[in-house]
Symmetry: C2
Protein backbone atom coordinates (compact mmCIF):
# COMPACT_ATOMS: atom_id res chain seq x y z
CA UNK A 1 0.00 0.00 0.00
CA UNK A 2 1.52 3.25 -1.20
CA UNK A 3 -0.08 5.47 1.46
CA UNK A 4 1.28 3.15 4.13
CA UNK A 5 4.81 3.49 2.82
CA UNK A 6 4.33 7.24 2.61
CA UNK A 7 3.20 7.68 6.21
CA UNK A 8 6.09 5.55 7.48
CA UNK A 9 8.56 7.62 5.50
CA UNK A 10 7.03 10.85 6.71
CA UNK A 11 7.08 9.67 10.33
CA UNK A 12 10.84 9.37 10.02
CA UNK A 13 11.31 12.65 8.19
CA UNK A 14 9.19 14.61 10.65
CA UNK A 15 10.78 13.07 13.74
CA UNK A 16 14.15 13.92 12.26
CA UNK A 17 13.08 17.44 11.30
CA UNK A 18 11.85 18.16 14.81
CA UNK A 19 15.09 16.87 16.31
CA UNK A 20 17.09 19.43 14.32
CA UNK A 21 15.71 22.11 16.64
CA UNK A 22 17.19 20.64 19.72
CA UNK A 23 18.15 17.14 20.73
CA UNK A 24 15.13 15.51 22.26
CA UNK A 25 14.58 12.05 23.66
CA UNK A 26 12.48 10.04 21.26
CA UNK A 27 10.96 6.70 22.20
CA UNK A 28 9.47 4.63 19.43
CA UNK A 29 7.07 2.05 20.77
CA UNK A 30 5.86 -0.95 18.80
CA UNK A 31 2.66 -2.40 20.18
CA UNK A 32 -0.28 -4.56 19.21
CA UNK A 33 1.41 -5.71 16.05
CA UNK A 34 0.93 -9.15 14.56
CA UNK A 35 4.60 -10.11 14.94
CA UNK A 36 5.73 -8.09 17.93
CA UNK A 37 3.79 -8.08 21.14
CA UNK A 38 5.83 -5.30 22.66
CA UNK A 39 8.94 -3.46 21.72
CA UNK A 40 10.66 -0.14 21.77
CA UNK A 41 13.58 1.67 20.23
CA UNK A 42 14.63 4.57 22.44
CA UNK A 43 17.16 7.28 21.97
CA UNK A 44 18.22 9.02 25.12
CA UNK A 45 20.48 12.02 25.56
CA UNK A 46 21.16 13.19 29.11
CA UNK A 47 23.19 15.95 30.65
CA UNK A 48 23.11 15.25 34.34
CA UNK A 49 24.89 14.95 37.61
CA UNK A 50 26.08 11.65 39.01
CA UNK A 51 25.26 11.35 42.71
CA UNK A 52 28.15 10.27 45.01
CA UNK A 53 26.89 6.68 45.26
CA UNK A 54 27.02 6.21 41.50
CA UNK A 55 30.46 7.80 41.40
CA UNK A 56 31.76 5.29 43.95
CA UNK A 57 30.48 2.41 41.86
CA UNK A 58 32.02 3.80 38.68
CA UNK A 59 35.36 4.59 40.25
CA UNK A 60 36.12 0.89 40.27
CA UNK A 61 36.63 1.10 36.50
CA UNK A 62 37.46 4.78 36.12
CA UNK A 63 40.02 5.77 38.72
CA UNK A 64 40.33 9.34 37.50
CA UNK A 65 36.71 10.27 38.28
CA UNK A 66 36.95 13.49 40.27
CA UNK A 67 33.98 14.82 42.14
CA UNK A 68 32.87 18.41 42.52
CA UNK A 69 32.74 19.94 45.97
CA UNK A 70 29.25 18.58 46.55
CA UNK A 71 30.41 15.04 45.71
CA UNK A 72 28.63 15.02 42.34
CA UNK A 73 30.14 14.51 38.90
CA UNK A 74 28.62 16.23 35.86
CA UNK A 75 28.06 13.82 32.97
CA UNK A 76 26.77 13.52 29.45
CA UNK A 77 25.34 10.27 28.13
CA UNK A 78 23.69 9.28 24.92
CA UNK A 79 22.59 5.94 23.67
CA UNK A 80 20.07 3.80 21.94
CA UNK A 81 18.34 0.94 23.64
CA UNK A 82 15.96 -1.54 22.14
CA UNK A 83 14.01 -4.56 23.33
CA UNK A 84 11.71 -6.61 21.12
CA UNK A 85 9.36 -9.28 22.44
CA UNK A 86 7.66 -11.20 19.61
CA UNK A 87 4.33 -13.01 20.08
CA UNK A 88 5.37 -16.40 18.78
CA UNK A 89 7.14 -18.53 21.42
CA UNK A 90 9.48 -19.85 18.71
CA UNK A 91 10.61 -16.30 17.86
CA UNK A 92 13.33 -15.05 20.20
CA UNK A 93 13.29 -11.85 22.22
CA UNK A 94 16.22 -9.56 21.55
CA UNK A 95 17.88 -6.66 23.27
CA UNK A 96 20.37 -4.11 22.00
CA UNK A 97 21.99 -1.12 23.64
CA UNK A 98 24.93 1.06 22.67
CA UNK A 99 25.89 4.11 24.66
CA UNK A 100 28.54 6.76 25.17
CA UNK A 101 29.38 8.31 28.50
CA UNK A 102 31.47 11.37 29.40
CA UNK A 103 32.28 13.29 32.58
CA UNK A 104 33.86 16.66 33.30
CA UNK A 105 36.22 18.04 35.89
CA UNK A 106 34.96 20.70 38.29
CA UNK A 107 36.67 23.29 36.05
CA UNK A 108 34.71 22.17 33.00
CA UNK A 109 37.50 20.31 31.21
CA UNK A 110 36.82 16.79 29.91
CA UNK A 111 37.64 14.12 32.47
CA UNK A 112 36.86 10.66 31.20
CA UNK A 113 34.78 8.96 28.52
CA UNK A 114 33.85 5.45 27.46
CA UNK A 115 31.59 3.43 25.21
CA UNK A 116 29.49 0.46 26.24
CA UNK A 117 26.79 -1.81 24.93
CA UNK A 118 25.99 -4.99 23.13
CA UNK A 119 23.22 -7.14 21.72
CA UNK A 120 21.86 -10.47 22.88
CA UNK A 121 19.22 -13.04 22.02
CA UNK A 122 16.72 -14.68 24.37
CA UNK A 123 14.83 -17.60 22.84
CA UNK A 124 12.21 -19.66 24.65
CA UNK A 125 13.04 -22.59 22.38
CA UNK A 126 16.52 -23.27 21.14
CA UNK A 127 17.14 -23.20 17.38
CA UNK A 128 20.84 -23.63 16.88
CA UNK A 129 20.78 -21.96 13.47
CA UNK A 130 19.23 -18.81 15.00
CA UNK A 131 21.89 -18.65 17.71
CA UNK A 132 24.64 -19.23 15.17
CA UNK A 133 23.37 -16.50 12.83
CA UNK A 134 23.11 -13.98 15.66
CA UNK A 135 26.62 -14.66 16.89
CA UNK A 136 28.16 -14.88 13.42
CA UNK A 137 26.88 -11.45 12.37
CA UNK A 138 28.23 -9.84 15.51
CA UNK A 139 31.52 -11.74 15.34
CA UNK A 140 32.05 -10.61 11.73
CA UNK A 141 31.43 -6.98 12.70
CA UNK A 142 34.03 -7.14 15.46
CA UNK A 143 36.57 -9.30 13.58
CA UNK A 144 36.86 -6.57 10.95
CA UNK A 145 38.53 -4.43 13.61
CA UNK A 146 40.25 -6.84 15.98
CA UNK A 147 39.75 -10.60 16.28
CA UNK A 148 40.41 -10.42 20.01
CA UNK A 149 37.16 -8.53 20.59
CA UNK A 150 34.48 -11.14 19.85
CA UNK A 151 35.78 -13.87 22.20
CA UNK A 152 36.13 -11.29 24.98
CA UNK A 153 32.72 -9.69 24.43
CA UNK A 154 30.94 -13.02 23.92
CA UNK A 155 32.21 -14.18 27.29
CA UNK A 156 31.41 -10.83 28.91
CA UNK A 157 27.85 -11.14 27.61
CA UNK A 158 27.40 -14.61 29.11
CA UNK A 159 28.73 -13.31 32.42
CA UNK A 160 26.75 -10.08 32.43
CA UNK A 161 23.41 -11.69 31.64
CA UNK A 162 23.80 -14.40 34.24
CA UNK A 163 20.88 -14.82 36.63
CA UNK A 164 22.73 -15.82 39.77
CA UNK A 165 19.74 -16.93 41.79
CA UNK A 166 18.62 -19.22 38.94
CA UNK A 167 22.04 -20.48 37.87
CA UNK A 168 21.30 -19.76 34.26
CA UNK A 169 22.00 -17.07 31.66
CA UNK A 170 19.12 -14.89 30.46
CA UNK A 171 19.47 -16.12 26.89
CA UNK A 172 21.97 -17.58 24.48
CA UNK A 173 24.10 -14.45 24.64
CA UNK A 174 25.63 -12.24 22.03
CA UNK A 175 28.16 -9.54 22.75
CA UNK A 176 28.59 -7.12 25.64
CA UNK A 177 31.25 -4.60 26.58
CA UNK A 178 31.62 -1.63 28.88
CA UNK A 179 34.22 0.97 29.77
CA UNK A 180 35.60 0.68 26.24
CA UNK A 181 38.20 3.47 26.11
CA UNK A 182 41.51 1.80 25.31
CA UNK A 183 41.86 3.05 21.73
CA UNK A 184 41.13 6.06 19.50
CA UNK A 185 37.52 7.18 20.10
CA UNK A 186 37.03 7.48 16.31
CA UNK A 187 37.90 3.81 15.95
CA UNK A 188 35.58 2.79 18.78
CA UNK A 189 32.75 4.79 17.21
CA UNK A 190 33.31 2.86 13.98
CA UNK A 191 33.25 -0.45 15.85
CA UNK A 192 30.00 0.56 17.52
CA UNK A 193 28.53 1.52 14.16
CA UNK A 194 29.48 -1.86 12.70
CA UNK A 195 27.90 -3.62 15.67
CA UNK A 196 24.72 -1.59 15.09
CA UNK A 197 24.73 -2.64 11.46
CA UNK A 198 25.17 -6.29 12.41
CA UNK A 199 21.87 -6.30 14.25
CA UNK A 200 19.19 -6.34 11.55
CA UNK A 201 20.83 -9.16 9.51
CA UNK A 202 21.39 -11.14 12.74
CA UNK A 203 17.73 -11.01 13.79
CA UNK A 204 15.30 -10.19 10.98
CA UNK A 205 15.78 -13.48 9.04
CA UNK A 206 15.10 -15.44 12.24
CA UNK A 207 11.89 -13.57 12.96
CA UNK A 208 10.76 -13.93 9.35
CA UNK A 209 11.20 -17.70 9.76
CA UNK A 210 9.57 -18.08 13.19
CA UNK A 211 6.82 -15.49 13.37
CA UNK A 212 4.12 -17.67 11.82
CA UNK A 213 5.36 -21.03 13.07
CA UNK A 214 2.49 -23.00 14.69
CA UNK A 215 2.64 -23.30 18.46
CA UNK A 216 0.70 -24.92 21.28
CA UNK A 217 -0.73 -23.46 24.46
CA UNK A 218 1.97 -25.31 26.38
CA UNK A 219 4.65 -23.59 24.32
CA UNK A 220 3.04 -20.22 24.95
CA UNK A 221 2.99 -20.98 28.67
CA UNK A 222 6.68 -21.88 28.62
CA UNK A 223 7.35 -18.53 26.92
CA UNK A 224 5.53 -16.83 29.81
CA UNK A 225 7.77 -18.56 32.32
CA UNK A 226 10.85 -17.56 30.32
CA UNK A 227 9.63 -13.98 30.31
CA UNK A 228 9.34 -14.23 34.07
CA UNK A 229 13.08 -14.90 34.16
CA UNK A 230 13.63 -11.94 31.82
CA UNK A 231 11.82 -9.68 34.29
CA UNK A 232 13.84 -11.10 37.18
CA UNK A 233 17.11 -10.31 35.45
CA UNK A 234 16.10 -6.81 34.42
CA UNK A 235 14.70 -5.76 37.78
CA UNK A 236 17.09 -7.54 40.13
CA UNK A 237 20.38 -7.53 38.27
CA UNK A 238 20.59 -5.17 35.33
CA UNK A 239 22.99 -2.31 36.03
CA UNK A 240 21.44 -0.11 33.36
CA UNK A 241 17.97 -0.40 34.87
CA UNK A 242 19.29 0.26 38.37
CA UNK A 243 21.34 3.25 37.22
CA UNK A 244 18.33 4.62 35.34
CA UNK A 245 15.90 4.24 38.20
CA UNK A 246 18.39 5.93 40.56
CA UNK A 247 19.05 8.91 38.26
CA UNK A 248 16.92 11.88 39.29
CA UNK A 249 14.54 13.02 36.55
CA UNK A 250 14.90 9.86 34.50
CA UNK A 251 12.04 8.55 32.42
CA UNK A 252 10.75 5.51 34.28
CA UNK A 253 8.57 4.42 31.37
CA UNK A 254 11.54 4.38 29.02
CA UNK A 255 13.72 2.47 31.43
CA UNK A 256 11.07 -0.17 32.04
CA UNK A 257 10.21 -0.39 28.36
CA UNK A 258 12.32 -3.54 28.33
CA UNK A 259 9.72 -5.48 30.30
CA UNK A 260 7.47 -7.89 28.39
CA UNK A 261 3.70 -7.35 28.05
CA UNK A 262 3.07 -10.39 30.23
CA UNK A 263 5.17 -12.84 32.19
CA UNK A 264 4.49 -15.85 34.38
CA UNK A 265 5.91 -17.69 37.36
CA UNK A 266 5.25 -21.19 38.60
CA UNK A 267 6.50 -22.56 41.90
CA UNK A 268 9.41 -24.97 41.45
CA UNK A 269 8.76 -25.67 37.77
CA UNK A 270 10.98 -28.20 36.02
CA UNK A 271 10.57 -29.20 32.40
CA UNK A 272 10.34 -32.87 31.50
CA UNK A 273 13.51 -34.83 30.91
CA UNK A 274 14.47 -34.76 27.26
CA UNK A 275 11.92 -32.10 26.37
CA UNK A 276 12.69 -29.08 24.17
CA UNK A 277 12.21 -26.94 27.26
CA UNK A 278 14.90 -28.84 29.09
CA UNK A 279 17.15 -28.55 26.05
CA UNK A 280 17.00 -24.75 26.35
CA UNK A 281 17.83 -24.81 30.05
CA UNK A 282 20.79 -27.04 29.35
CA UNK A 283 22.26 -24.36 27.07
CA UNK A 284 21.49 -21.57 29.54
CA UNK A 285 23.25 -23.47 32.31
CA UNK A 286 26.25 -24.28 30.11
CA UNK A 287 26.86 -21.46 27.64
CA UNK A 288 28.14 -22.75 24.32
CA UNK A 289 30.33 -21.41 21.57
CA UNK A 290 28.16 -20.53 18.56
CA UNK A 291 30.87 -19.77 16.03
CA UNK A 292 33.71 -21.78 14.52
CA UNK B 1 28.19 14.90 19.06
CA UNK B 2 28.88 12.13 16.58
CA UNK B 3 27.57 9.25 18.73
CA UNK B 4 24.32 11.17 19.19
CA UNK B 5 23.84 11.51 15.44
CA UNK B 6 24.69 7.83 15.06
CA UNK B 7 22.11 6.59 17.56
CA UNK B 8 19.40 8.75 16.02
CA UNK B 9 20.18 7.40 12.56
CA UNK B 10 20.22 3.85 13.84
CA UNK B 11 16.90 4.32 15.62
CA UNK B 12 15.35 5.12 12.26
CA UNK B 13 17.10 2.31 10.41
CA UNK B 14 16.18 -0.31 12.99
CA UNK B 15 12.56 0.79 13.26
CA UNK B 16 12.35 0.64 9.49
CA UNK B 17 14.09 -2.73 9.34
CA UNK B 18 11.69 -4.25 11.84
CA UNK B 19 8.70 -2.92 9.92
CA UNK B 20 9.78 -4.79 6.80
CA UNK B 21 8.73 -8.00 8.53
CA UNK B 22 5.16 -6.98 8.90
CA UNK B 23 3.42 -3.64 9.16
CA UNK B 24 3.35 -2.67 12.80
CA UNK B 25 2.00 0.38 14.54
CA UNK B 26 4.86 2.54 15.68
CA UNK B 27 4.40 5.45 18.05
CA UNK B 28 7.29 7.82 18.49
CA UNK B 29 6.96 9.81 21.67
CA UNK B 30 8.91 12.98 22.41
CA UNK B 31 9.03 13.76 26.09
CA UNK B 32 11.02 15.75 28.63
CA UNK B 33 12.85 17.65 25.93
CA UNK B 34 13.97 21.25 26.32
CA UNK B 35 11.81 22.51 23.47
CA UNK B 36 8.89 20.11 23.44
CA UNK B 37 7.01 19.27 26.56
CA UNK B 38 5.05 16.49 24.95
CA UNK B 39 4.62 15.23 21.46
CA UNK B 40 4.14 12.17 19.36
CA UNK B 41 4.34 11.04 15.78
CA UNK B 42 2.23 7.89 15.31
CA UNK B 43 1.77 5.62 12.37
CA UNK B 44 -1.29 3.44 12.53
CA UNK B 45 -2.40 0.68 10.19
CA UNK B 46 -5.67 -1.06 10.96
CA UNK B 47 -7.66 -3.83 9.35
CA UNK B 48 -10.94 -3.86 11.22
CA UNK B 49 -14.67 -3.98 11.17
CA UNK B 50 -16.82 -0.89 11.38
CA UNK B 51 -19.69 -1.36 13.82
CA UNK B 52 -23.21 -0.41 12.54
CA UNK B 53 -23.23 2.90 14.42
CA UNK B 54 -20.05 4.07 12.70
CA UNK B 55 -21.42 2.93 9.35
CA UNK B 56 -24.55 5.03 9.83
CA UNK B 57 -22.44 8.08 10.55
CA UNK B 58 -20.23 7.50 7.52
CA UNK B 59 -23.09 6.81 5.16
CA UNK B 60 -23.89 10.53 5.20
CA UNK B 61 -20.84 11.06 3.00
CA UNK B 62 -20.47 7.66 1.42
CA UNK B 63 -23.84 6.50 0.18
CA UNK B 64 -22.52 3.29 -1.33
CA UNK B 65 -21.38 1.83 2.01
CA UNK B 66 -22.88 -1.65 2.08
CA UNK B 67 -22.97 -3.65 5.27
CA UNK B 68 -22.35 -7.36 5.75
CA UNK B 69 -25.12 -9.51 7.16
CA UNK B 70 -24.13 -8.69 10.73
CA UNK B 71 -24.34 -4.95 10.00
CA UNK B 72 -20.55 -4.50 10.02
CA UNK B 73 -18.33 -3.19 7.24
CA UNK B 74 -14.76 -4.47 6.89
CA UNK B 75 -12.24 -1.65 6.53
CA UNK B 76 -8.58 -0.82 6.15
CA UNK B 77 -7.14 2.44 7.40
CA UNK B 78 -3.65 3.83 7.59
CA UNK B 79 -2.43 7.20 8.63
CA UNK B 80 0.02 9.33 10.46
CA UNK B 81 -0.99 11.62 13.27
CA UNK B 82 1.15 14.05 15.16
CA UNK B 83 0.70 16.55 17.95
CA UNK B 84 3.47 18.72 19.37
CA UNK B 85 3.11 20.80 22.53
CA UNK B 86 6.17 23.04 23.10
CA UNK B 87 7.13 24.31 26.54
CA UNK B 88 7.37 28.00 25.69
CA UNK B 89 3.97 29.78 25.72
CA UNK B 90 5.07 31.82 22.72
CA UNK B 91 5.71 28.68 20.68
CA UNK B 92 2.53 27.29 19.12
CA UNK B 93 1.15 23.77 19.46
CA UNK B 94 0.62 22.00 16.17
CA UNK B 95 -1.34 19.03 14.94
CA UNK B 96 -1.10 17.07 11.72
CA UNK B 97 -2.96 14.02 10.47
CA UNK B 98 -3.24 12.42 7.06
CA UNK B 99 -5.09 9.15 6.54
CA UNK B 100 -6.45 6.78 3.94
CA UNK B 101 -9.59 4.72 4.41
CA UNK B 102 -11.00 1.80 2.42
CA UNK B 103 -13.96 -0.56 2.79
CA UNK B 104 -14.95 -3.82 1.08
CA UNK B 105 -18.18 -5.39 -0.06
CA UNK B 106 -19.39 -8.58 1.63
CA UNK B 107 -17.94 -10.50 -1.37
CA UNK B 108 -14.47 -9.03 -0.81
CA UNK B 109 -14.45 -6.58 -3.74
CA UNK B 110 -13.37 -2.98 -3.06
CA UNK B 111 -16.28 -0.74 -2.15
CA UNK B 112 -15.20 2.77 -1.37
CA UNK B 113 -12.07 4.68 -0.40
CA UNK B 114 -11.12 8.20 0.56
CA UNK B 115 -8.31 10.36 1.93
CA UNK B 116 -8.59 12.84 4.76
CA UNK B 117 -6.44 15.00 6.97
CA UNK B 118 -4.85 18.35 7.46
CA UNK B 119 -2.56 20.39 9.65
CA UNK B 120 -3.32 23.27 11.99
CA UNK B 121 -1.62 25.63 14.40
CA UNK B 122 -2.67 26.50 17.95
CA UNK B 123 -0.79 29.43 19.48
CA UNK B 124 -1.37 30.81 22.97
CA UNK B 125 -0.12 34.18 21.76
CA UNK B 126 -0.76 35.50 18.29
CA UNK B 127 2.23 36.22 16.06
CA UNK B 128 0.86 37.13 12.67
CA UNK B 129 4.07 36.14 10.90
CA UNK B 130 3.84 32.60 12.35
CA UNK B 131 0.24 32.23 11.20
CA UNK B 132 1.09 33.58 7.76
CA UNK B 133 4.05 31.23 7.32
CA UNK B 134 2.00 28.20 8.34
CA UNK B 135 -0.82 29.05 5.94
CA UNK B 136 1.46 30.07 3.08
CA UNK B 137 3.39 26.78 3.09
CA UNK B 138 0.18 24.78 3.00
CA UNK B 139 -1.43 27.02 0.40
CA UNK B 140 1.60 26.68 -1.88
CA UNK B 141 1.46 22.88 -1.59
CA UNK B 142 -2.20 22.79 -2.59
CA UNK B 143 -2.02 25.54 -5.25
CA UNK B 144 0.47 23.40 -7.20
CA UNK B 145 -2.39 21.00 -7.86
CA UNK B 146 -5.55 23.10 -7.84
CA UNK B 147 -6.03 26.67 -6.58
CA UNK B 148 -9.58 25.85 -5.53
CA UNK B 149 -8.32 23.54 -2.80
CA UNK B 150 -6.72 25.91 -0.27
CA UNK B 151 -9.70 28.28 0.16
CA UNK B 152 -12.00 25.29 0.61
CA UNK B 153 -9.72 23.44 3.04
CA UNK B 154 -8.82 26.56 5.01
CA UNK B 155 -12.53 27.21 5.63
CA UNK B 156 -13.15 23.54 6.41
CA UNK B 157 -10.37 23.69 9.01
CA UNK B 158 -11.87 26.74 10.74
CA UNK B 159 -15.23 25.00 10.80
CA UNK B 160 -13.95 21.62 11.93
CA UNK B 161 -11.84 22.95 14.80
CA UNK B 162 -14.62 25.15 16.14
CA UNK B 163 -15.37 24.77 19.85
CA UNK B 164 -19.11 25.34 19.83
CA UNK B 165 -19.60 25.71 23.54
CA UNK B 166 -16.83 28.37 23.67
CA UNK B 167 -17.67 30.19 20.45
CA UNK B 168 -14.07 30.07 19.34
CA UNK B 169 -11.83 28.04 17.07
CA UNK B 170 -9.16 25.81 18.63
CA UNK B 171 -6.37 27.74 16.96
CA UNK B 172 -5.59 29.90 13.98
CA UNK B 173 -6.38 27.07 11.58
CA UNK B 174 -4.57 25.60 8.64
CA UNK B 175 -6.07 23.10 6.25
CA UNK B 176 -8.52 20.24 6.72
CA UNK B 177 -10.30 17.89 4.33
CA UNK B 178 -12.14 14.61 4.48
CA UNK B 179 -13.85 12.19 2.12
CA UNK B 180 -11.43 13.27 -0.62
CA UNK B 181 -12.24 10.86 -3.46
CA UNK B 182 -13.27 13.04 -6.41
CA UNK B 183 -10.17 12.53 -8.53
CA UNK B 184 -7.54 9.95 -9.47
CA UNK B 185 -6.22 8.34 -6.26
CA UNK B 186 -2.66 8.72 -7.60
CA UNK B 187 -3.17 12.46 -7.82
CA UNK B 188 -4.66 12.66 -4.33
CA UNK B 189 -1.73 10.68 -2.94
CA UNK B 190 0.61 13.24 -4.52
CA UNK B 191 -1.39 16.11 -2.99
CA UNK B 192 -1.19 14.44 0.41
CA UNK B 193 2.55 13.99 0.00
CA UNK B 194 2.98 17.67 -0.86
CA UNK B 195 0.93 18.63 2.20
CA UNK B 196 3.17 16.41 4.33
CA UNK B 197 6.22 18.13 2.90
CA UNK B 198 4.76 21.55 3.63
CA UNK B 199 4.71 20.84 7.33
CA UNK B 200 8.33 21.11 8.49
CA UNK B 201 9.00 24.43 6.67
CA UNK B 202 5.69 25.80 8.01
CA UNK B 203 6.51 25.05 11.64
CA UNK B 204 10.22 24.54 12.36
CA UNK B 205 11.29 28.17 11.69
CA UNK B 206 8.59 29.40 14.08
CA UNK B 207 9.70 27.08 16.86
CA UNK B 208 13.34 27.99 16.29
CA UNK B 209 12.33 31.63 16.79
CA UNK B 210 10.05 31.16 19.83
CA UNK B 211 11.50 28.31 21.82
CA UNK B 212 13.89 30.43 23.89
CA UNK B 213 11.82 33.61 24.02
CA UNK B 214 11.53 34.90 27.61
CA UNK B 215 8.12 34.49 29.23
CA UNK B 216 6.40 35.31 32.50
CA UNK B 217 4.46 33.12 34.90
CA UNK B 218 1.28 34.85 33.73
CA UNK B 219 2.02 33.88 30.15
CA UNK B 220 2.64 30.28 31.22
CA UNK B 221 -0.67 30.31 33.07
CA UNK B 222 -2.49 31.59 30.00
CA UNK B 223 -0.92 28.74 28.01
CA UNK B 224 -2.37 26.32 30.57
CA UNK B 225 -5.84 27.77 30.08
CA UNK B 226 -5.44 27.53 26.30
CA UNK B 227 -4.43 23.90 26.70
CA UNK B 228 -7.61 23.38 28.67
CA UNK B 229 -9.51 24.46 25.56
CA UNK B 230 -7.40 22.08 23.49
CA UNK B 231 -8.43 19.21 25.75
CA UNK B 232 -12.08 20.27 25.54
CA UNK B 233 -12.03 20.19 21.77
CA UNK B 234 -10.25 16.85 21.54
CA UNK B 235 -12.39 15.03 24.06
CA UNK B 236 -15.78 16.59 23.35
CA UNK B 237 -15.72 17.30 19.65
CA UNK B 238 -12.97 15.59 17.70
CA UNK B 239 -14.39 12.93 15.37
CA UNK B 240 -11.06 11.14 15.12
CA UNK B 241 -10.77 10.74 18.89
CA UNK B 242 -14.37 9.59 19.18
CA UNK B 243 -13.99 7.11 16.32
CA UNK B 244 -10.78 5.81 17.84
CA UNK B 245 -12.17 5.35 21.32
CA UNK B 246 -15.21 3.53 19.89
CA UNK B 247 -13.16 1.15 17.73
CA UNK B 248 -12.70 -2.19 19.49
CA UNK B 249 -9.07 -3.03 20.14
CA UNK B 250 -7.80 0.48 19.48
CA UNK B 251 -4.78 1.83 21.31
CA UNK B 252 -6.14 4.27 23.83
CA UNK B 253 -2.70 5.66 24.64
CA UNK B 254 -2.06 6.47 20.99
CA UNK B 255 -5.42 8.12 20.53
CA UNK B 256 -5.01 10.28 23.61
CA UNK B 257 -1.41 11.08 22.74
CA UNK B 258 -2.75 14.41 21.49
CA UNK B 259 -3.47 15.64 25.01
CA UNK B 260 -1.03 18.10 26.56
CA UNK B 261 1.13 17.22 29.60
CA UNK B 262 -0.82 19.69 31.70
CA UNK B 263 -3.81 21.95 31.21
CA UNK B 264 -5.76 24.40 33.35
CA UNK B 265 -9.25 25.77 33.79
CA UNK B 266 -10.43 28.85 35.59
CA UNK B 267 -14.05 29.70 36.23
CA UNK B 268 -15.33 32.48 33.95
CA UNK B 269 -11.90 33.77 32.98
CA UNK B 270 -11.74 36.82 30.72
CA UNK B 271 -8.50 38.46 29.65
CA UNK B 272 -8.01 42.16 30.14
CA UNK B 273 -9.25 44.54 27.48
CA UNK B 274 -6.51 45.30 24.99
CA UNK B 275 -4.19 42.58 26.31
CA UNK B 276 -2.28 40.15 24.10
CA UNK B 277 -4.50 37.41 25.48
CA UNK B 278 -7.61 39.22 24.31
CA UNK B 279 -5.98 39.76 20.94
CA UNK B 280 -5.71 35.99 20.50
CA UNK B 281 -9.35 35.43 21.44
CA UNK B 282 -10.41 38.05 18.95
CA UNK B 283 -8.80 36.06 16.14
CA UNK B 284 -10.25 32.78 17.40
CA UNK B 285 -13.72 34.30 17.45
CA UNK B 286 -13.32 35.85 14.01
CA UNK B 287 -11.14 33.63 11.81
CA UNK B 288 -8.97 35.67 9.47
CA UNK B 289 -7.44 35.13 6.07
CA UNK B 290 -3.70 34.61 6.45
CA UNK B 291 -2.66 34.64 2.81
CA UNK B 292 -2.95 37.22 0.04
Amino acid sequence: ERMEALVRRKQQEITKGLETLEPEDVSCVIENGKTFEKGGVNVSVVYGSLPPKAVDRMRADHKNLQTQEDGNVPFYACGLSMVIHPHNPHAPTTHLNYRYFETWNPDGTPQTWWFGGGADLTPSYLYEEDAKLFHKCHKDALDKHDTALYPKYKKWCDEYFYINHRNETRGIGGIFFDDFDDRDPEEILKIVEDCFDAFLPSYVPTIAKRKDQPFTQEEKYWQQLRRGRYVEFNLVLDRGTQFGLQTPGSRVESILMSLPATAGWKYDHHPEKGSREEQLLEVLQNPREWTD
